[in-house]
Amino acid sequence: MMSSTSNLPKVGFIGLGVMGTPMSTHLSRAGYPLVVYDIRTELAVQLAAELSNTSAATSPAEVAASSDIIVTMLPNGEVVREVLCAEDGVYAGLRPGSLLLDTSSSEPWLTQQTAEEMRAKGCSVVDAPVSGAQHGAKTATLVFMVGGDDADVERVRPLLQCMGRAIYHLGGVGAGHAMKCLNNMITSMNLLALAEGLAVGTRYGLDPAVMTDVINESTGGSWVSKTHIHQRILNRAFDDPFKLELMVKDIGIGMELARQTGVPVPLSANGQHLWKAAALAAGPGASVSELVRWVEKLTGVTIESAKGPRAPAAQ
């Protein structure tokens, strides 16, 4: 099954964090020969030792020089640009005909700029950011939002299938990155509205635990209301692993897209201000759940059930 002499393309993987490590592991298990790199070189060395038919590179240029498809999973689009353009970056080692598959949550306009530069070098780009977070990466159940030319997308489809459960091809290069930030912008607004609604209700005398149960059964229900309130707020844990600053980044990308396309979005614009204020108050590294604690400060209401935390009502 896993033959090292297969004619599968050679894959370079750059960015071995909480997402990149399990994603590259799935590719290796599917038989792809890998060359891996991270700015923390010990991560690459360690992973290469664990996986078969995998080597560690010491620079992005070295990855590019020996790869048909280069996968990036990096904190943001600026970092992707650095990895491409640095002196020992991907561009320095790139072979014509290679393809860059950027699974990071990058800015769509940076991705489009990269695609132009890559085209000039006889290479192509597919953007395929993910939803599903760390758990989805580990269990290969990520959802990929894909932008790129049809032929390029077909070229990377087998890789995406190894790492995820769903692949949505949205359009040309940048379309996946646009979709990713817009999904998160909706998520962020849902959480903000929910926090305000719970604050007003709690002040009025409603039990926020009962409110959450009712909302989850009603038209106000959402992924956020079902996974975040009982689980991370009412128990005062405020511990969602997704970082508040990354949400603010995605909202910022969405708002920049709105500006570039000339679409007035007053609710999201206002939400952006509030999220930014929350990020300033919470400081770097804070959990996205801290947004609710900030709403508590703004409203002067602690969203806490007098009866203490409990499991959500069965649905």
Binding site: M189, V224, V263, N270, G300
Partner: protein, 296 residues
């Protein structure tokens, strides 16, 4: 105590009419009142409800009054003001159940006034819209200062609804209803804004909604309203723009009255007012995106 509850039902609109039909099917004797005699007549002929034109006949022998009216002010008018008010004619111990989407601070006041006359009050707004009213599957959010009043009317709730949430003291049902609709309206507006940006960028709206529904952005609105009503251009949720605008306004004003600084609720209320003004209160609420697109 096992005597069948005698019901007086006021307000025979899109919601009230099917609710009366379900009460009749469950075997409850129901007197009905509406300003429009034709509505009373239809329920009398087809479902055996008893039409009443004045308060004394409506109140005689009545254990429970159910109101299903456009606003809390209409409810207070019927009970306290119009022709001296129905409350003056009710026997002590009767319970008023307001299933309208009323303003919660007004409900507290009404409950206190009724209590002084020896009358009970339950606020019990519903979610589930017209389809839920017809199918008898409404979700009911019940608040009351005396929980025994909810126990007493529970057989009526069972006839009209599927699920009853006890939300706390008087007014909490109404507060819950308005706040749920605010959260829903915010999710609708956020989803609409993202679709407006995305489609302008070149994304397909149906595909966007499909992905949102597989991702963290999903909500009742994205899964039901956008997927089946907005991208399909059906625009039929059965919930009027004017009613959604009213509910979001109640939620926002509740925050103001309680001195809770909730800026998103103010802006959501304003956005729905704009949509309501542009398209009219009678259109389906899920057409709000069309009004906002016209501004773009």
């Amino acid at each position: 105590m096992s005597a069948v509850l005698q019901v007086a039902f006021i307000g025979l609109g899109n919601m009230g009419t099917p609710m009366v039909i379900n009460l009749r099917r469950a075997g409850f004797p129901v007197k009905v009142y509406d300003r429009d005699p034709a509505r009373m007549q239809a329920l009398a002929e087809q479902h055996g409800a008893v039409p009443c034109a004045d308060w004394p006949s409506l109140a005689a022998g009545t254990d429970v009054v159910i109101t299903m009216l456009p606003t809390g002010k209409d409810v207070a008018d019927v009970l306290l003001h119009d022709r001296g008010g129905l409350a003056a004619h009710l026997a002590k111990g009767a319970v008023v159940v307001d299933m309208s989407s009323s303003e919660p601070l007004g409900t507290r006041e009404l409950a206190a006034q009724l209590a002084r006359r020896g009358l009970g009050m339950v606020d019990a707004p519903v979610s589930g819209a017209v389809q839920g009213a017809i199918a008898g599957t409404l979700s009911i959010m019940a608040g009351a200062d005396d929980p025994a009043h909810i126990d007493r009317v529970m057989p009526l709730f069972v006839a009209m609804g599927k699920r009853v949430f006890r939300t706390g003291a008087s007014g909490t049902g109404h507060a819950m209803k308005a706040l749920n609709n605010f959260v829903a309206a915010a999710a609708y507006a956020a989803t609409a804004e993202a679709l407006m940006i995305g489609t302008r960028f070149g994304l397909d709206d149906a595909l966007m909604v499909e992905i949102i529904n597989a991702s963290t952005g999903r909500s009742f609105n994205s899964e039901v309203v956008f997927a089946s009503q907005v991208v399909t251009r059906q625009f039929k949720t059965g919930f009027a723009m004017g009613l959604m605008t009213k509910d979001v306004g109640i939620a926002s004003q509740l925050g103001e009255a309680l001195k809770v600084n909730a800026p998103v609720s103010r802006l959501v209320a304003q956005r729905w007012e704009e949509a309501c003004k542009a398209r009219g209160p009678g259109v389906d609420q899920c057409t709000a995106i069309l009004a906002w697109q016209e501004q773009a």
